[in-house]
Amino acid sequence: MASEDWLQRRTYHHTNFWDIRWLLQQKERQGLTISLCLPTYNEEKTIGQEIVIFKAELMDRFPLLDEIAVIDSGSTDKTCQIAAEFGADVYVASEHLAEYGVHRGKGENLWKALYLLRGDLIVYVDTDIANIHPRFVYGLVGPLLVNPEVHYVKAFYDRPIAHSGQLRPTGGGRVTEILIRPLFSLFYPELTAILQPLSGEYAGRRSILEQIPYPIGYGVETAMLIDIYQRLGMEAFAQTDLDRRVHRNQDTVALGRMAFGVARVFFSRLRRDGKIHYDGELPTLMRQFEFAEGNYRLREHTIEEIERPPMIEVEAYRQKFYSEKAPSAPTHPVERQPTV
């Protein structure tokens, strides 16, 4: 089976890339630069540790990373102050490319990172990780440095959940198992080989990341997988086992809203790819119920999945990165539907 073959060939363990000195040689031999993007919103508890460890181990000790940047969604805590204290470049997302509109969401930050950061390879790492380790970067960069056919690397891991100072050994991945994997099985069966499609850690080549649209919210990870798959096929992917990732738990109600956003992005791809047909636009209203004071109360959440266009279509980006060359049009234009 193709998926099993792919799993064998393209599934790595972070220990495959433990020799950072060797990775650095590969990077220099290929003349590549690598940027780390940390999207944040009120992450003062974990951001300091992430930057200290990444800077110390992957810039000061071995300069595998050329820059570490925090792209912040307007934190009201000390996230930005702490990040700057330990040497990260700090960008407030709303202050950049404002002429293209301002939205708030992780996907928005990742999209703007393409403009703000200069690396040929971009590594995205979430900032709520309590057990951060250099492997969260070198484990993802490794496949890109050793295999030119790999364009995008996804993380997977065990995911214990921190709870009241103790650890619960199982949990996490509920949206993946209940929503994403069934949908992939139905419509993009090859993508089921990506073990944790919603993991928040991934790395890609700028050459592909600039070609795909970015939903600004929950759906960005799912959209990336489908859109890169549609352009380059499974051979563009690899995945790396990063062992354990300790993070905050989200309650089921919050995950429900996440699933809603992901589903909207998913259905927009299905329609774009001609896999399903429906008239009009999907609703943006997510309805949930809560029990309080002896009554059930309806809670409505508006969850739009606004999509940013491929960065290569943004004039300011082309000016910054391709001013000495002929401005590039998308190399593999996607027939996109209006954003939903």
Binding site: E44, K45, T46, G48, Q49, V52, I53, K55, A56, E57, D60, R61, K78, Q81, I82, E85, F86, G87, A130, N131, H133, A162, G165, Q166, L167, V246
Partner: protein, 390 residues
Amino acid sequence: MTLTVELRRPVEGLPEALKPLRERILSNLTMLARLPAPTGREQDRVQFVLDRFLEAGLTDATTDEMGNAVGRIRGRRGNRTILVVSHLDDIVRPGIEHEIVVKADRVIGPGVSDNAMGAAVVAMLPTVLEHLNIELNSHLVLLGSILSLERGNHRGIRAFLDQYPDDIHFGVCVEGIELGRLDFFSIAMARADLICQMRNSGNQGRGYGSESALVVLNQIINRILGIPTPVRPYTVIRMGKLRAGVSYDTEPTRALLGLEIVSHDDEQVDRIVREMEAICFEMSARHAVEARLDVFFRTRAGGIPFGHRLVSTAIEVMRKLGIEPDQKHTPSEVSEMIARDIPAVTLGITHGRKHQRPKPDYVLIEPILRGVAQVVGVLLAIDAGACDGI
């Protein structure tokens, strides 16, 4: 007071020169602190320290027979050997997640101050010296010691000192806090668990006299409070831990009191231990329990004189760095070296807090580079001969 010899690098400039290493020291601190290391299970930290030694080019870094992490930097002349040691174990309760938070001014988390901070500095020392272009004439032995705390009873460093083939001429113990700490003598101490266990029920059991283990232990405590503790020589009994019972409605069959006896005089400690054992014996008979004193940690009184040049030199280095010396005698590995006539001091790296649950442990970031500079300064002074002789 001035240093009697010229150091190869002015001590005052060291903190500034160390600035590029700040994040690497903090990275070592956070990654070490995240590794659980209860006494007897320090293997992950041992491996971490060894990896750092190896990465820094200490090719013969390895564990000794006991399991301590040992690295050596050969001196140009090898006319002295200096041991720098930090214990790797901590007393964080099992099951507590070692979650570390790095804020702009401090690092917070279980065990960061005692003693992930000290271990981070020892792990980093080869890199620090290389960064500063310092090549010592003396051999430098770096030790991450295991089995130090509580029932470990310094077994790690004692085994190391017993087995190390060459003479060690000076010792420096590195502890996370407090900056300014300067220990150079060892106080007599005994740490013990006093365990009160009900005898089994049945014919010989709780039929007569016996009560709740907690109640009996309370009576033992009252008797202990009656043991004389002279002001001179300074002597004190500290009762620090009490454990008994599982439920409101069940009398405990076992109760434990953790205590330490501290004195400037070994004989006072020996006397108090004997008196406590006699109390246990009497109360066992009177209340049909098994009460016993389990002494698991001992240090003997001793030290190097205040006028020793290692002490005066360390004070001078501290003052050059704006550190106010605070001479104490808290227990550390220094007592094991002093017991072997090795002049040694304990130095703290920064300010912070430890062991005040539920308040979390923390260390302040800003003083760390001065703390590291102080260790380097003392090594430079020893290497230059400033501490030779009394």
